[in-house]
């Protein structure tokens, strides 16, 4: 599908959450001192947040949602739809969205959807919930987006371990007749399905006695079938091929001038890739906020982490025109153009130290 627009729906609050446990790439035992300094300089990631065993995407998103309800003075009973985006659900089944119904005391009559998307997931989820709210005339919606990808990483894989991090988020959307339409453009290219992948543990390659066996793929890189793999070069190539024209065409279709946009909030992949995109689009550094240094690549949660960590004060003071763009596993990508309302709840990311439990 080409670009499309959704009128009369507005974001009225965002809260992002991270585990309180932190790892520093300078402490990585798998790398020498010089390699660590080079890695941090090049990929731009110094510290990452790690969910302890037993802390899940539900825990992170429930923590964010509870803070969001409080900050935006929203009664959970007023929520008409929930979309939960994650690739690390609490269970193979049921989906996370039903689990949060109980934890957040949401109405049983609301709609509950789960969306299996990675780094493009915030924009995909935003388009899904806004589209359903508009077409079904729902007043309030809750978008929950989060992942604990650190649980899928081999501790002996230098291509993934220094990059991925954990986070959750909750975004409140409301019907709002006086707001600018949101504009979206989404896409996917399945030829890139294997460039970011967990091959084992699903229906195609079911979990068996060998699923946890570590194999050496190249010197210093050991993985099992249940670990996440990433071909960084191909991720960059797919991103440059698809993301740049996607953004350019969305701006054109929506009739927005690139210079009129206050901030371009990109998925935080790594500094090499993000800088390549910024330079390709000829964007000034001050319009492209980054959170790689402190939070790393938190998969689908990078966009809300970046908005709340970098733009919270400005979002409170004035309406902002934002371009949001996510890209990654699939290979999939999505861009959104929207205008925030002045004064929305958008505090700095909160820390979650304990799982909420089952």
């Amino acid at each position: 599908m080409a670009a499309f627009s959704i009128p009369n729906i507005s974001i009225t609050g965002i809260v992002a959450s991270v585990p309180s446990d932190m790892e520093d790439n300078m402490d990585l035992a798998m790398l020498h001192q010089q390699e660590k300094e080079y890695l941090i300089h090049k990929i731009g990631i110094k510290t990452r947040r790690i969910a302890p065993t037993g802390m899940s995407s539900v825990d992170l998103c429930v923590g964010a949602a509870l803070a969001l309800f409080q900050k935006s003075q929203c009664d959970p009973s007023s929520i008409g739809i929930v979309v939960f985006v994650t690739q690390t659900p609490d269970y193979p089944l049921p989906g996370n969205s039903m689990i949060v119904q109980k934890k957040l005391r949401l109405p049983e009559t609301a709609l509950f959807y789960d969306l299996h998307q990675g780094c493009s997931g915030y924009v995909y989820g935003l388009s899904m919930i806004a589209g359903l709210m508009h077409s079904l005339d729902i007043n309030k919606g809750l978008l929950l987006v989060g992942d604990t990808l650190s649980h899928l990483l081999s501790p002996n894989d230098r291509t993934t371990k220094p990059i991925f991090s954990d986070a959750g988020s909750a975004t409140l959307l409301e019907k709002s007749p006086d707001t600018q339409p949101m504009h979206f453009s989404l896409g996917a290219d399945g030829t890139g399905a294997n460039i970011i992948q967990v091959r084992g543990g699903g229906a195609r390659h079911p979990f068996d006695l060998n699923s946890l066996s570590l194999k050496e793929y190249s010197p210093g890189i050991h993985r099992a079938a249940v670990h996440l793999t990433m071909e960084g070069i191909d991720v960059m190539n797919y991103s440059l091929r698809h993301v740049v024209p996607n953004i350019q065409s969305l701006l054109q279709v929506a009739g927005w001038d690139s210079e009129s946009i206050d901030f371009f909030v990109f998925h935080q992949a790594n500094k090499i890739l993000n800088e390549s995109l910024r330079k390709r689009l000829d964007l000034p550094v001050h319009k492209v906020p980054e959170t790689l240094t402190s939070f790393g690549n938190t998969s689908c949660a990078t966009i809300p982490i970046t908005i709340t960590n970098c733009l919270g004060e400005q979002v409170k003071k004035r309406a902002l025109k934002l371009l949001l763009c996510g890209f990654g596993a699939g290979f999939s990508w999505g861009s959104a153009l929207l205008e925030t309302k002045q004064g929305i709840a958008c505090p700095k990311p909160i820390e979650i130290s304990m799982p909420y439990g089952e």
Partner: protein
């Protein structure tokens, strides 16, 4: 956008510039880049990114795996610029 075809010297200079501690003029066309002490998956990403920026072409992970020397990379880049 595709750019001007490089000569081997300017191509090597761009590669050398991507390493933190390789002196200008020290890489030779026949050098096996994977044998360099500084070579790893991150350095590979840095190189492919710089070739994309400087020459407007993309090199896949497989294409890089099938190249061994600096000259192989040079031929790959010039071939792609001709396409």
């Amino acid at each position: 956008m595709k750019k001007e075809l490089p000569d081997i010297q300017s191509f090597i200079a761009i590669l050398e510039d991507q390493f933190d501690d390789i002196a200008p003029g020290s890489l030779q066309p026949g050098a096996q880049f994977r044998e360099l002490q500084q070579w790893n998956s991150l350095q590979a990403l840095v190189i492919v990114s710089s070739l994309n920026w400087n020459y407007g072409i993309t090199i896949s992970a497989n294409e890089l795996r099938n190249s061994n020397t600096i000259h192989d990379l040079f031929l790959l880049v010039t071939q792609k610029m001709h396409e």
